[in-house]
Amino acid sequence: MGSQGGWGQSKEFLDLVKSIGEARSKAEEDRIILREIETLKRRIAEPDVPRRKMKEYLIRLVYVEMLGHDASFGYIHAVKMTHDDSLLLKRTGYLAVTLFLNEDHDLIILIVNTIQKDLRSDNYLVVCAALTAVCKLINEETIPAVLPQVVELLGHSKEAVRKKAVLALHRFYQRAPNSVSHLISNFRKRLCDNDPGVMGATLCPLFDLIKEDINSYKDLVVSFVSILKQVAERRLPKTYDYHQMPAPFIQIKLLKILALLGSGDKQASGHMYTVLGDIFRKVEPSSNIGNAVLYECICCVSSIYPSPKLLETAVDATSRFLKSDSHNLKYMGIDALGRLIKINPDIAEEHQLAVIDCLEDPDDTLKRKTFELLYKMTKSSNVEVIVDRMIDYMISINDNHYKTEIASRCVELAEQFAPSNQWFIQVFEHAGDLVNVRVAHNLMRLIAEGFGEDDEGADSQLRSSAVDSYLRILGEPKLPSVFLQVICWVLGEYGTADGKYSASYIIGKLCDVAEAHSTDDTVKCQSLIDELSASHSTDLQQRAYELQALLGLDSQAVESVMPLDASCEDIEIDKNLSFLDNFVIQSIEKGARPYIPENERSGMFNIGNFRSQYQHEASSHSLRFEAYELPKPSPPPTVAQVAFPLPTTDLVQVPEQTYPRETNQTSNLPSATDASSADFGVKLRLEGVQRKWGRPTYSSPSASSSSSTQKTANGATHLDGGGTASSQTRDSFHDSRRQQAEVSAEKQKLAASLFGASTAKSEKRQPSTHKTPKGISTSTEKPAVKGAISSSEPPKEKTLPSSPPPDLLDLGEPTPASIPSMDPFKHLEGLLGPTSAPSAIDHSSAAGPKAPDLMALYTDASPAGVSSSSLNPALADIYTVNKNSHETANVAAMKKGPNFQDSLQKDATARQVGVTPTGNNPNLFRDLLG
């Protein structure tokens, strides 16, 4: 308060600030400000305002603007004030201008002149003020106006000016890299400036430059290293110390630059090792700034050509971060870990516990960072757990931006590793319309094309599982539009493919959808189209309506022209489809109608004609479903190419030509469509068809068309091979699989399951690296000591623990030791009792007789957590026959096969090997957290 006298403002201003401070509500504040604006407007407009008064008005204007009101009436006065001779007023003017104007403001041009003058000033403080303004105001167009002067100032006698000139040039570089490209040598020169401040400032532009073009600065590595060395040895003036650290900000900048320069360059990195080691040793880890430098060192070490010794130091530092109580440090630790695992994925294992802790942390930022880390360390063995966690988290948040991000990550992971329909469904369900449309298309393509491998069976399995699950969720009241489209499409394409559901059932469902979502045109249209495409291949009856309503084609003719290549529609709705909707539903209700005779060939050509006409039109449409083949279990020789009426205004003509020729039955329809043609339009494109006709008019030969033809062949062979039978057997197999998967899904609820995955990894690696992670040992031991479940489970499999290699037993000891005295079954029962974890219940109920085995396995794996992978076969022996087969299959499937079945098996494997911790960790966490 003592400084009050020195504030030097008028009473008016003090009162203003005070009243704002005391304002109770935003409305009151607004009132005060509006009054102030009025006052200022009046005062400023007065003639001959004293300059000192004007300065205060300007400051008050800035204040007004800061509170979110418009003070544009005073901008011009701010500009005028920059012309003032007095430095004080000039600076106020510059300050106001830089705060008021953005770089594209019209008034900028008025200031450039002043700036030019000021840059020539004798008073270095004036020059400084001008340079500060330059950094903020000069845009790309005005750079040339001041550039020569700024360059000149690089040689100014005052270091403050040199420094600002360097940064101004940096700013120019950021704005327009080309404008200063010829001046880069100047930066190099400034690096050798006598003043450390200038040198430090020069590092900023150099960092940016090096980021762009690493190779032309390799020669500077030695200089940077020597500068860093000097800094670390406290050769800089004491004033640069910060919390007893020698010039930490300069160190950090240098480390960043070195990280760039040393990345992937063994020789350059070699220069850095010593100094990095020095810094690691000298840094004071108790202060915040020390940790900042430490973190930068870790980043640098993880970026340059790896040196084992430094890496070890970096890992140590990281683990110190992770173990710290400070959330900030944990956050940095997670980030550092993410960098280090790029070099050596094993590092993560040591810190499993810490990572899980962060994941469970209430701090949202930390959680997100941890998800980022998990995303980086995802492998086929832990992908399920991670994606599950991500989805769970995604459901829980309502920040749209992050939701979208995490959804796309989920999808990416799901595509990359093992696509499980469930994930997509969940992602869609919860992220809904936030998901990029592209994702939907990828999903459809995935389902349609399978995984590009030769395993048709797995593809059809995926499809049928998709159909199953989509049918199940179709009944839910609120589904995002994009997802509904996918569902409809999948049902239409593959709903009847495996013979489980009749076409009419599917169509009924789709009609329901169409009715339920009558407000959503896109979805509706999609479902209708799919209705048709579903029906025409399997249901002659249905086809009759469509032919009646639309265009009729002889099935033989169609077949000869395009075997099994239907449903390549490209659709677009204008708006109102209600007419069509009613009509189709009505006709379905009415029942079968006669079928249309033989004058089709001409009709065919008509289709061809208008198709080619609309091809380019269609290509510009927003909604596109690219061509996919339709591998159906060869139904009657039917596949008809069904064209929707195409009554956009310009379309009308074509149908008119066509229909009359067709039949008398259709003749009444065109008129109807004509009548309402203005209201709706459906355009349809059948890609891949033209090619077969060899029409030169084929206008949009997108990649999809070629792929669709290829696939056609593919689908055909698949069909020949009696795919139906095999897919059915697979189906039953798959069902049992699925059950298991569901059981496990329950288990994965808890964070610990992540462990499961990573422990699984570690188990495999254990034999080679003897640095047994401490995290594991604690995770296995703790449950044994504390968790009743874990200790009671093992007895069943008591034979097993003896099988692990002896050297590992010491870690696993606690568990087996505690067991023998207990009666296994009693414990099991106790487990399933009311106190037991939900997961346990689930096993028993869902997996039935398998449950004991499974559970035993889990517990078993806790000692196994320490054991080698040799345990795996041993486990397999104990399994039931059914399981056994899985197990062996798993081993075979260990190779990364991106298909559904494999993924399931992989999942099972991971569970069998690594599940253990999954089962135990919940308790662990309860213990830790509770």
């Binding site: 401070g21 600076r91 403080l125 700013r171 919390h243 900030n328």
Partner: protein
């Protein structure tokens, strides 16, 4: 967004691909928005650096100092950060520059007051 965060959480908030780093001094929050690949701890320290300089300049700075002299805080900030980069990490240098500018201000003030004195006397 920041205000809702509890005291023990970390001082970073991720927001649309950027990060906000904040630091609280009593009831005052200092906040910086940074790129995703910046060193958050360093930013925290830059904030602190700024606050230390403010402190030195105002002599145990308080909220009111900043409210009434926000333009001076801006001047100081201009000396520390330019175009998003740390310009000067030496407190002494910053202090010297600001002092140099202020001495000009003072002389200007003296002139002004002497002028007004003269006017006052003349009008008497």
């Amino acid at each position: 967004m920041i205000l809702t965060r509890g005291p023990k959480l970390c001082n970073f908030v991720e927001w649309k691909g950027l990060k906000a780093v904040y630091r609280r001094y009593a009831s005052l929050y200092f906040c910086m928005c940074i790129d995703a690949d910046d060193n958050e701890l360093e930013i925290l320290e830059i904030i602190h650096h700024f606050v230390e300089i403010l402190d030195r300049y105002f002599g145990s700075v308080c909220e009111l100092d900043l409210i009434f002299n926000f333009h001076k805080a801006y001047y100081i900030l201009d000396e520390i950060l330019i175009a998003g980069e740390l310009q000067e990490s030496s407190k002494k240098t910053v202090a010297r520059l600001i002092a140099a500018q202020d001495s000009l201000v003072e002389t200007a003030k003296e002139q002004a007051s002497s002028i007004s004195n003269m006017i006052a006397q003349a009008t008497k």
